[in-house]
Symmetry: C2
Subunit: 555 residues, 2 copies
């Protein structure tokens, strides 16, 4: 089979003006970025506000494994297959980050014959959104340190600065730094650090906002530091909000592109799925719902992280709810969860598969708690045996859940027709979506609810630091916010080695981070890195561009 970049380069793109016109978008409602990308104006939402929403399909997955589940590929393939069976569908996706692209992962725009295009642009700078987010974050940081340097009129405790600078790169050497060294005029020395841009609260805000006015209010609420009395200092206090919002004037607009089969895709925003909510922007989803009969969106990592946050944070905030949830799994990943080493995943192993199904089942039970309608989509690999597929079907049938298989990576929409038809059916059933917890619960109780109901932890321990933070955040009036648990993506527990459906464990909350602008409180469990590092041989080493502009090594 051809490589991703070869398939992408050989695809015939439709002019983005035609993609837009086919969606009924007026020429005044988008701006072309090159011939193949466009930014959609927010006025589109005003014009279409009385049009009923289409159906919303959430694509989520079992806990990710090194084998790869292909969630984005399945999302893209599903949207193409829906179009192939005569429905109008739009794929709503997150924008990839440069860091993982040059690190381990390579590109992130789907794969094989289920990709979004132009994949080279989408994987690189795309329309500049992440750059704008980074600039807004770093302007705020520069203004904060300038305020410290200029006599500290806001009374910031330099030991209690919580805002970090960002860079869209995997750069472990920037995790923990001392800044402001040198001469007197080189600033006030203090401990600091960098996160990858997708971890910035500005990213989370952009992905949850409803427009410029709301964006400015959210940016203004960002708590960047505390005084010695633990009172918050905000972006409003630093008078940075207007300039930050100005930097984000184009980034706030969703990006229209297309798949290899010329079906429309809206790709916008890309917050982390542990320390943030991990979904494409609410504006992108809301726009897609007005433009198509089916919107296929996705949530990062497994359903314990991404779907939980989509259902508890995004849906209430954006005023949407999924008509169907597609839980993606692979036989390989299920066997891995059943204890098979990576090198042996190609061999049939019904015993391990049976054990690994516990992971999938717990996700299904969890999703049931939200009152949503779920089906399982197996991303079928060539070496999956019929006996293995039958075992998955049988186990799911016991829970009353349908299983479909899809081969969209190898076949595009042709490989997703069964999945598409099943999704259409599920969307016709009434759903009874509700959140897992009420906003009236305290922060501690909300964290405990997620840990108990979703992770199945026996108890939640709070470090002394986290306990002090719980008290202070409640004192400051932030107790009514939803919680955003940051946990390893590889396990339901906070230990990445505990695969399957672990029981008899406790989780420990080390620290709380207020995201007052985004509107949630992050609870950090285990060892969560907000700045990845490069592997021994970074993916960047294999990348190149020739004189004609042809790219190699981006997959």
């Amino acid at each position: 089979m051809k490589s991703d970049v070869e398939i992408a380069q050989q695809a015939t793109l439709a002019p983005i003006s035609r993609i837009a016109a086919d969606l009924g978008i007026d020429e005044s409602e988008y701006e072309p970025y090159g011939r193949d990308k466009a930014k959609l104006s927010l006025t589109l939402l005003d014009r279409l506000k009385d049009r009923p929403n289409g159906k919303l399909v959430l694509v989520t997955a079992i806990n990710p494994t090194p084998a790869g589940e292909g969630k984005t590929t399945m999302n893209v393939g599903l949207s193409m297959a829906l179009n192939a069976i005569g429905k109008n569908a739009i794929s709503a996706l997150r924008e990839p980050s440069l860091g993982p692209c040059f690190g381990l992962k390579g590109g992130a725009a789907g794969g094989g014959y289920s990709q979004v295009l132009p994949m080279e642009d989408i994987n690189l700078h795309f329309t500049g959104d992440f750059n704008a987010i980074g600039a807004a974050n770093n302007l705020l940081a520069a203004m904060l340190d300038n305020s410290l340097f200029r006599g500290n009129p806001l009374g910031i405790d330099p030991q209690r600065v919580v805002l970090r600078r960002v860079v869209d790169m995997n750069d472990r050497a920037l995790r923990s730094v001392l800044i402001g060294l040198g001469r007197r005029t080189d600033g006030i020395p203090r401990q600091g650090g960098f996160e990858i841009t997708v971890a910035s609260e500005v990213m989370a805000i952009l992905c949850l906002t409803s427009g410029i006015k709301d964006l400015k209010e959210r940016l203004g609420r960002m708590v960047v530091a505390y005084t010695p009395d633990r009172d918050p200092v905000t972006a409003t206090d630093l008078q940075a909000v207007g300039a930050m919002a100005m930097l984000l004037k184009d980034a706030i607009k969703p990006n229209l592109v297309q798949t290899v089969e010329n079906t429309p895709a809206i790709i916008h925003g890309g917050p982390f799925a542990n320390i943030a909510h991990g979904c494409n922007s609410a504006l992108a989803t809301r726009m897609a719902l007005k433009l198509a009969d089916y919107t296929v969106t996705e949530a990062g990592f497994g359903a314990d992280l991404g779907a939980e946050k989509f259902l508890d944070i995004v849906c209430p905030s954006a005023g949407v709810a999924p008509d169907a949830v597609v839980l993606v799994a692979t036989v390989h990943a299920l066997k891995y969860n059943g204890g098979v080493p990576r090198a042996e995943l190609s061999q049939e192993n019904l015993v391990a598969l049976d054990a690994g199904m516990a992971n999938l089942e717990q996700h299904l039970e969890n999703l049931d708690k939200y009152g949503v309608n779920t089906l399982v989509a197996l991303n079928r690999f060539p070496d999956d045996t019929d006996a293995e597929i039958a075992l998955v079907r049988e186990r799911c049938a016991r829970l009353g859940v349908q299983v479909v298989t899809a081969e969209v990576f190898e076949k595009g929409s042709r490989g997703g027709l069964e999945m598409a038809r099943a999704v259409v059916e599920v969307c016709e059933r009434p759903h009874h979506y509700h959140r897992l917890y009420s906003s009236e619960l305290g922060l501690r109780e909300k964290i405990e609810t997620v840990a108990r109901e979703i992770y199945r932890a026996d108890a939640v321990n709070f470090s002394p630091r986290a306990q002090r933070q719980l008290e202070n955040l409640t004192r400051l009036g932030f107790g009514s916010l939803p919680v955003c648990l940051a946990k390893t993506q590889y396990s339901f527990s906070d230990d990445p080695a505990k695969l399957g459906a672990p029981r008899g464990f406790e989780i420990t909350v080390r620290q709380l981070v207020l995201r007052a602008g985004a509107g949630f409180v992050v609870a950090l469990t285990g060892d969560i890195l907000t700045m990845p590092g490069l592997p021994k041989v970074p993916a960047a080493v294999g990348m190149d561009i020739d004189e004609d502009g042809h790219i190699t090594g981006l997959s």
Copy 2:
């Protein structure tokens, strides 16, 4: 008079497709970025390679003062006035940096009725070029620190890393930092620092390159560190070149926009004018020369820095030479150079003006050494008196140099007709452009030549460190490169307080920095900051955007 942003918002832009069509650019030769910006394909240069070049006009200035000389405004006004008198002209300009925009300076896209548009976009992220440059630089830095962390196979001396990370922000707290702190897995601790993106060697390379192949060769030559034996380690050694070039695939393409009077402008690149060469990209200039009868370009800071580097570095590298040099001055700035405090510049003062003329005259004498044809353009302010203008004319007449006045800020092209006619005349005269020094001179002798001939220093002192570096760079075979002197822009000397035409001073070279990819050796004199800081009240504080996307505070 209206503010810059008001004038910009009230201007009627022509579709960028029409601007391109009027220049004879085929639809396949550009990509629209929004309705008002386009990226020009490098294939354009191939198609037009046999077309004769138009005339090249360099706009430079006396030493800048806090009063502001309006060099970019004069450049834009001149290009519009040339069009107004029936010539085809293109303005070639540098892209503004976000740092100064939010710091002291505000926007940098001309001013008044001589602006390039859309000024909000040009001043903010524009088409993402600076972001790509920053990402390429920072990917290289991350790969360097990753190499240190992964057993240091290249034998890099962590104390001899010369590559710095960059951010497009004025952020003094990042000038000097300790990185790689924290746990064992958080990298190798070492001293580091950040520069503003425009100071990156990647920026200088992009602005001097002739295409992708040359870009890759230049990137590969970048020296990022030395071994303990002072042997260079390059970007090629780190296997970063392909990925870096891939990141720059769009940034290498010049950007087409227009002025408030709908005349075309090509804005591309923006290297610092002291530690780099301070001119828009060679590709932009070369393209403009093929597309128009007159190309009006500019060089940063005063003629001692910007024009010197344009004539000694850019022209030989790009294979171009100016047909006319326009030296911009204001009566205010000349009086400031004659010792008048800023608050009194509006009052007529012929004695001070007479004294300050020494600055202008030295620039004229200097330019004469290059065999170019120069005229003086006074950017006329409302309170300049006729007697003052007459004095400038008389002093210049003694040197055989014509003086024209222009009021392009207030009147647009109508205020620049005299200037335009004079420029056309000068361009008809034969010029005898040549470099100041031969490449066969040693690095020390080249530095001494510039210091003696342009600055009029009595001698150049080299710090012990700079002497060791001179020897090592010569040993490594870099002695044939041109030199790029980094000096305060406010004085011919290395002391910003010495205005006018100082004599009887020596300059001290503290340090040399090899820019093997850009193809020059930087000599740092005095106190050169490559990372500016924010002022007490940053310009960002006054900026805002409303719900309809209207921007205020960007001037």
